[in-house]
């Protein structure tokens, strides 16, 4: 054999060679797998497009029914303020409260504006008048927003009438404190660029944790594991051979997702992409470690699937992807310390949207690194014992 002449110790040479052959086999199998391939390439596109567009807490189309028993100039002016607002859409007008409430009942309206019969007269005579908003509050958050928007429109209208009828110096009716606000890193408060990194996290995790775990268990299920165990392949070589392809594919997925984000959604990428990929790498070590661990404790694909799915669902919800982490109860925040998604979610948003640097995310980096070492060791130990 020619190896000896190269001056490289045979064992090292063979070591790298073994892994090379393992990787070769894995990649061939992955690319021949008709289910996997579209998942890796088509799914991200579809998901990003759909999910990013769907995931928004903004209120756009508030369906309103107007019950105007006054039919005065003032009431009409008030109504036209709502008509002019981009948030509201006036469905219909009615004179019967029952009819209006029915529309609330069958979901064709979100809110009823009820203007009583003496609206204008009361304003003129008593300087006071009442109106009513009946809001469908099943969606509590939405109802809160409808409440806030409606009240603010009424307050604007209030000011306008005062100016019209009284011609007063504006300052007296303004509040003494003027508040203005700016949203940094996301001027227009666009939900898409806020959700997109979150979705990227999910995609990368699915590949790094989910697919890799399934892949390992499959070999157990089919029985080829035995054949592997008889060969000189060492367990760690086998593990590297199984995990490395998915690490590479996941990193590729991240890049792919970012390109789509940029092309389709104009996703800002303010910070260093190298930093992002470096962080993703560490994160993937954790994800792969978890995937390996789950596959080592599962007997077949179905079990792996359910375990991973359960883990994903719970921890993704807790990661801050939709709602702020800091608002979660204390016990949840403690659990979050072993939630890898939380760290990644934080870092990816910081890097992409704020341009945060290495020292800004140092905490998350260190935490994930420790996590990676622990989980990989645990997973490998468990794997060697049982397979």
């Amino acid at each position: 054999m020619n190896n000896e002449n190269l001056g490289i110790p045979i064992s090292n040479f063979k070591l790298m060679n073994t892994i090379k052959y393992l990787l070769q086999k894995e990649f061939i199998q992955i690319f021949r797998n008709k289910t996997l391939l579209p998942l890796i390439f088509v799914l991200p596109v579809v998901q990003l497009i759909i999910l990013v567009n769907a995931a928004t807490f903004e209120m756009k189309n508030i369906d309103m029914i107007v019950l105007d028993k006054d039919l005065s100039q003032s009431s009409r002016n008030l109504i036209s303020k709502f008509e002019g607002s981009p948030f509201y859409h006036i469905n219909s007008f009615t004179f019967s409260l029952e009819e209006a409430e029915e529309k609330l009942l069958d979901n064709s309206a979100d809110v009823i504006l009820n203007i009583p019969a003496n609206f204008e007269r009361d304003l003129l005579r008593n300087n006071k008048s009442k109106i009513q908003f009946l809001i469908n509050a099943i969606n509590g958050t939405a109802a809160g927003l409808i409440n806030a928007y409606s009240i603010s429109i009424v307050q604007d209208f209030n000011k306008e009438i005062i100016q019209e009828w009284y011609d007063l110096n504006q300052i007296k009716i303004e509040l003494p404190i003027k508040l203005n606000y700016r949203y940094w890193f996301n001027e227009n408060l666009e939900y898409t660029i806020y959700m997109l990194p979150g979705i990227l996290v999910i995609l990368v995790t699915l590949i790094g944790m989910f697919l890799s775990a399934l892949n390992i268990v499959r070999e157990k299920e089919i029985g080829t594991i035995e054949q592997i165990n008889v060969t000189p392949i060492k367990k760690y070589q086998f593990i590297i051979g199984k995990l490395l392809p998915f690490l590479i594919i996941a990193l590729f997925e991240m890049a792919f997702g970012l390109v789509i984000g940029r092309l389709l959604f104009d996703q800002p990428m303010v910070g260093s992409l190298w930093l992002l990929f470096g962080f993703t790498f560490v994160y993937l070590l954790v994800a792969l470690g978890l995937g390996l661990f789950f596959s080592a404790i599962s007997a077949n694909q179905q079990q792996v699937m359910f375990t991973v799915y359960f883990f994903l669902l719970t921890f993704i919800l807790m990661s801050g992807i939709f709602t702020p982490v800091e608002s979660m109860p204390d016990w949840a925040q403690i659990i979050n310390r072993i939630n890898p998604f939380m760290y990644f979610m934080k870092a990816i948003r910081m890097i992409l949207l704020k341009g945060s640097g290495f020292f800004d995310i140092l905490d998350e980096f260190v935490s994930l690194s420790i996590y990676a070492v622990v989980i990989l060791s645990l997973a490998i130990w468990r794997y060697r014992k049982t397979v």
Partner: protein, 368 residues
């Protein structure tokens, strides 16, 4: 007949022996509900903010106190100049900076108006929006109190009534959604995987040549899942009622019937998926990506459908959970009867029939 029951018994044992999957299937709805109820919330608590007070007078300090004692915020840093703002936001420690302009109180007295600027870290758009709104609320209230002696010449007083959910409880949104999700998961996904598994292992052929008729095989395979799904449905509703005080204003039997309908529909869907999958993996992925993710995101579960772009709204109309969620909300929270939900019920029925027909057709093709 005896063979048939024997088969059903075997299926039940088979599933219940896998303790871990059992644990997950029964535990997951509970955990999810708890998560949604207590963890996933749009409220603000102890948000970290910084104050840049260029005036440092009585009023600015009183406002600062109000902010810090509200429970919504904690003042983590005190800044001294504008140049510090960018770093402190980038570091991720601070979510919002409240800036009082110089000579704040004096300006209020002399000119009747002074400026406060809020700078929020909107990389987390949702949180930023909430924080700004809460801050605005506190400051506005204070501003109103400052001007108590000045009477508004004219006042329109809006009265707000919240229908069906007076306390704006989040449970009303997520309990129906969780039901749809879990029932989909068990009925559709597990069924499809279970049948696909038999196909993959080759045992399906064995079943087909046995004296059991095809529809008996199918029913036998899905019966454990119907049972589990139904138990889960009851558990979820019970949790909603007893833990989160959701009312059940409508008829319970209607609720149960609709749940059963949804379960059957999901089963039919699961069976159909298994007919187009030749392996467990395929079944799993179709279920996961064509069912669960859309359910979570497009069914109105978390994000209201009306706010989505039109295309997505159309897409959501072919997602069965959307209709089921509407039915549940109507029956439980509004107390409506079948007259209000007949449309949705019909859609679900139609979908069930559709999937059954498709599956039968595919099955026949296979046999030939």
């Amino acid at each position: 007949m005896k063979r048939f029951f024997g088969f059903i018994k075997k299926e039940f044992f088979h599933i219940f022996r896998d303790k871990r999957t059992m644990l997950i299937l029964f535990g997951m709805p509970i955990i999810q509900i708890l998560l949604f109820g207590y963890v996933v919330t749009n409220e603000i608590k102890d948000a970290e903010i910084a104050i840049l007070d260029l005036s440092k007078d009585d009023i600015s300090q009183e406002i600062t106190n109000k902010l810090s004692s509200s429970g919504y915020f904690q003042i983590k840093k005190v800044l001294h100049s504008h140049t510090e703002i960018e770093d402190v936001l980038k570091s991720g420690i601070i979510k919002e900076v409240v800036v009082f302009e110089a000579d704040f109180a004096k300006k209020i007295e002399r000119e009747g108006i002074a400026n406060i600027q809020l700078i929020a870290d909107a990389s987390d758009a949702n949180t930023a929006n909430l924080i700004v709104n809460y801050t605005k609320g506190i400051i506005s209230n204070y501003a109103i109190s400052l001007r108590k002696d000045v009477e508004m010449p004219l006042q329109i007083e809006p009265e707000i009534r919240m229908f069906y959910n007076e306390e704006l409880k989040g449970a009303f949104m997520f309990v129906p959604g969780t039901m749809a999700l879990i029932l989909m998961l068990i009925s559709a996904m597990m069924t499809s995987i279970s049948i696909a598994r038999e196909k993959e292992l080759g045992t399906m052929e064995v079943l087909l040549v046995s004296p059991l008729r095809p529809f008996q095989i199918i029913i036998g395979k899905v019966s454990p899942y119907i049972a589990m799904a139904f138990v889960n449905a009851v558990v979820i509703i019970a949790m909603g009622v007893f833990v989160f005080n959701m009312p059940v204003l409508g008829s319970i039997s209607l609720l149960m019937l609709e749940s059963l309908l949804f379960i059957v529909m999901a089963l039919a869907l699961g069976i159909f998926i298994s007919t187009v999958s030749n392996s467990q993996q395929v079944a799993m992925f179709i279920s996961l990506f064509a069912l669960l993710l859309p359910t979570m995101l497009l069914s109105g579960f978390i994000f209201p459908i009306e706010n989505m772009p039109l295309v997505l709204q159309w897409l959501s109309s072919i997602i069965p959970p959307k209709y089921f969620i509407i039915i549940i909300k109507n029956v439980m929270l509004k107390g409506t009867g079948i007259s209000f939900v007949w449309k949705e019920t019909l859609v679900l029925l139609g979908m069930t029939v559709f999937f059954i027909l498709l599956s039968v057709k595919k099955f026949k093709v296979r046999l030939e």
